[in-house]
Symmetry: C3
């Protein structure tokens, strides 16, 4: 069984956001898969997806602080600067975290660990709504 | 053909550890797949998986040194500090490296390059045994 | 439907290189898949794959600059130094970016966003030709 969904996430401010429920709510066929995989892919180069702690919101605050220090804005050696000071750092952060997550599906649900959730990593100041392509397969 | 395995890795100290053989030994159906994929997923947010050099152990020592400098403990701006100084850095390292690796399967074995092995990246001082979900598919 | 391809990319100098077209040209069965996935895996530990902007080449120049500062050569604490000053940093960069990308396939083509392309990230000074294993599946 193959199913593919084009999903739009609602716009979010720059930072790290828990989006597991918003994604799962749009996967109508997930419950019918007893063993399989979900591939969740973001069609952008300045936002990314990752999996991390779903409980304490300060983890997501700290992610933003750490990534802003790891990849600073306005470095004098940047060449790609026309789209704003947040743009090139957004591209780098997007590749450090990656454009997709793949999650095992078991008994009709994403088989995440107890403390795991899917993050939308919005690296732009004004990213707008982000498009995902979710591919479900299994039996 | 779909097979899913829940595997427990034995506990390891903080650092980077070669676990290819420990994983493969538990995938009874791997030999029956001529073309396929293995998705190996860790159900934790402070440990991760990556693929890197399987030969010289100093590579894994240097990984630990580099990641400890890239994401330092006890930064004054961290907010998520209640679970110990190694906790927030562990979450960041886990997302930089990622919670899963996907490996092509060819002729009944993981089709890794000659020098590639799967690393468990244990980012906590006392991580304990780590759970994996391995999804095999193919024909 | 499963197809697996062993592809050799032509050698490139150290840096970030757009290789989407070189890969797609070698996937003869891609056009026959209406819904599926492409898993593109590099069999090396000092080069990697990522997805990022396919337009302005200065993005790729800046990637090289940023990653060279994020993971410096010749740090006094490195132990794995026998294969040259670019070797250990290449391993770290390879794991930060990862050995594979997985892309949804829709209507016979890679369903990348408008601005997305696949990068070969060549972290060695003399990396030579790099081997990929591409696994296509779908229906």
């Amino acid at each position: 069984m193959w199913q593919q969904y084009e999903i739009r996430l609602k716009p979010r401010r720059r930072g790290f956001h828990l989006v597991t429920d918003e994604i799962v709510a749009q996967l109508a066929d997930l419950r019918d898969i007893s063993v399989g995989m979900a591939h969740i892919f973001i069609q952008h180069t300045s936002a990314s997806l990752t999996i991390n702690e779903n409980a304490d919101p300060t983890v997501r605050v700290d992610f933003e602080s750490v990534f802003n220090r790891l990849v600073k804005e306005n470095e004098p050696y940047y060449e790609h600067t026309l789209e704003g000071s947040d743009d090139l750092p957004a591209h780098i952060k997007a590749s450090l975290l990656g454009p997709s997550v793949t999650v095992p599906v078991s008994n009709g649900r994403l088989n995440l660990g107890t403390w795991q959730g899917i993050y939308l990593c919005e690296h732009r100041n004004q990213g707008g709504s982000r498009r995902l392509v979710v591919t479900l397969q299994g039996e």
